[in-house]
């Protein structure tokens, strides 16, 4: 089965400076393939090249080198957009239109007849949870509501492939949950979702595969559990009402114990030591469980390390070029 999205050596240089412009490489030879029905997480810290990639795929900017295919069509094929949905990062719409009018406008662009348009618009606004406010001008909308309108417009044409740039940003916890559920729904309908995020937890909850970019380059790709950097390094166990003598007894088996408040401690448990035995022991001594979370690198930790490596790599490359 051919991939739904095929990105091939995609490269983008920006010119920086007004008079003596020197190129700045925002994206460097990115290659990726995404299969049908995948929920693909495109991860990286801010400024890594995620938005540049999405803009290239949407033809908002043009590649310096390389190319891509979506649904077997090359970039720039207007007809392919009939089957694609896109939510830009921090979307912005015509603030003089109401939510309903905006979706109607976009529906016209897809060529839907008025009745069909009305049906789709009403259904989508219901789906993203915009009720009577749909008759208000968008200038009165909060950031979170705009994000919901953005998601609705991305799904207006029942797209086979959906590109979402930071879909969770600007949303409250309730909104984030809604978006997660929506993405899972789309996956269950067999659609392909390509979304970018700088928050690892989002990807963990949703994605079959991820790619991590840093400094415009692909740093890692594959299943999240297979990427070494993101594997669990230990556990963070938070317990309440731990008696001091009990604390002293468990101290040798934990890596670190930090007092949060009187009797409440955060215990860092190494990976080799399964936390369930320690938990059982503490509960037997009258302590109560507050939370248990796995400890792993954040994207930022990962990024900092990659920058150091990439910096070294680039310096080596430059030195090699200088020698030639």
């Amino acid at each position: 089965m051919p991939p739904v999205i095929r990105i091939d050596e995609l490269t983008k240089d920006y010119k920086v400076g007004f008079w003596r412009s020197r190129p700045y490489r925002a994206l460097d030879r990115l290659s990726l393939e995404i299969a049908e029905g995948e929920v693909f997480g495109f991860l990286g810290p801010n400024g890594a090249g995620k938005t540049t990639t999405l803009k290239l795929l949407m033809q908002l900017i043009f590649p310096t080198r390389g190319g891509a295919e979506i649904l077997g069509r090359p970039l720039g094929d207007v007809q392919a957009r009939q089957r694609i949905g896109f939510l830009p990062e921090n979307p912005s719409f015509y603030d003089y239109l109401t939510a309903e009018e905006l979706l109607n406008y976009f529906g016209q662009l897809f060529g839907y007849a008025p009745a069909e348009r009305g049906r789709r618009v009403a259904a989508l606004l219901d789906r993203v949870g915009i009720g009577a406010e749909r008759r208000l001008q968008l200038r009165k909308f909060s950031k979170g509501m705009i994000q919901r309108v953005g998601i609705a417009q991305a799904l207006l044409n029942d797209p086979e492939v959906i590109f979402l740039d930071e879909p969770m940003s600007g949303l409250d916890p309730l909104g984030r949950r809604d978006v997660r559920n929506l993405i899972l729904e789309l996956r269950d309908q067999g659609r392909t979702v390509f979304f970018s995020s700088h928050i690892l937890a989002d990807a963990e909850a949703l994605c079959s595969r991820v790619a991590v970019v840093a400094n415009g380059r692909l740093a890692a790709a594959g299943r999240l559990s297979e990427i070494l950097a993101f594997q669990v390094r230990g556990w963070d166990l938070v317990m309440d009402t731990i008696r001091p003598d009990v604390l002293e007894r468990v101290r040798p088996v934990v890596r670190r114990a930090t007092e949060i408040s009187a009797g409440r401690y955060s215990l860092e448990v190494p990976l080799e030591q399964p936390p369930d035995r320690l938990l059982a022991e503490l509960v037997a001594e009258g302590a109560t469980l507050v939370s248990l979370t796995p400890i792993r690198d954040t994207l930022e930790d990962f990024f900092v390390r990659r920058v150091a490596e990439a910096g070294a790599g680039a310096r080596a490359e430059e030195a090699a070029r200088a020698r030639d």
């Binding site: 957009r81 896109f86 830009p88 979307p91 912005s92 662009l109």
Partner: protein, 268 residues
Amino acid sequence: MHAIRSVAVNVFKESVRDRVPYNLVLFAVLLISSSYLLGQLTAGQDVKIVKDLGLSATAVFGLFIAVFIGIGLVSKEVERRSIYPLLAKPVSRPQFIAGKYAGLVLTLAVNVAVMTIALYVVLGYMSWMEPAAVRASWDAPGPDPRLLKAIALIFLELMLVTAIALFFSTFSGPLLSAALTLGLYIVGQFNADLKNFDRVVNSKTAIWLARGAYHVLPDLSAFDVKTQVVHGLPVSSGYMLATTGYAAVYIAALLLGAVAIFSRRDFK
């Protein structure tokens, strides 16, 4: 085609919601109050002056709409990033430009039409109030159908100015676009002077440059037949046709240029 139409209708909607129609109220107040006041001041020239005023106001109000909405047509969408979701829809960039242009032309057409009706109503009323002997002394009748020729050329000029504004709007911000458009508008009015530059200057190069500029820059003074029409002098169909053709070709050049620039533009 439906894409162009949808974009155009949206531009029209925006201009209406941005309170552009208020200028029509101002226009009506200006015409009615001046037609009332002028009778006292002008030794019987009030109908001519109301015609002059009506035509000039149509041109000036239209110019403001064409320039100040025109310069924002594209740049505002890029600045606000509302173009991102739009261009991910099945709309090509040339269609987007064509739709934006058509939308503002539609706004101007409605505007000019309403102003024309208002002008004719005021002129009709003034004419009806005067005795037949006075009417007989006028160069041209009050509600003169020939005024439509002047209005048609004003509208063509506005279409051309809109195309200029849109062209600049595809690659520069609103402030620079406004300055460039208004600058070109003024140069366009003086354009005919460049033709006779050789009477003022001796340098061969300067004359060639002036000649070149005369042919390349828009000749906006050609669209002004207000004086002739107000005095009931003939404006030939040939002239109307040639000027319309000129406008059409010049607008086409500007829109093609706008599409050429815009189609390769990165939205950073």
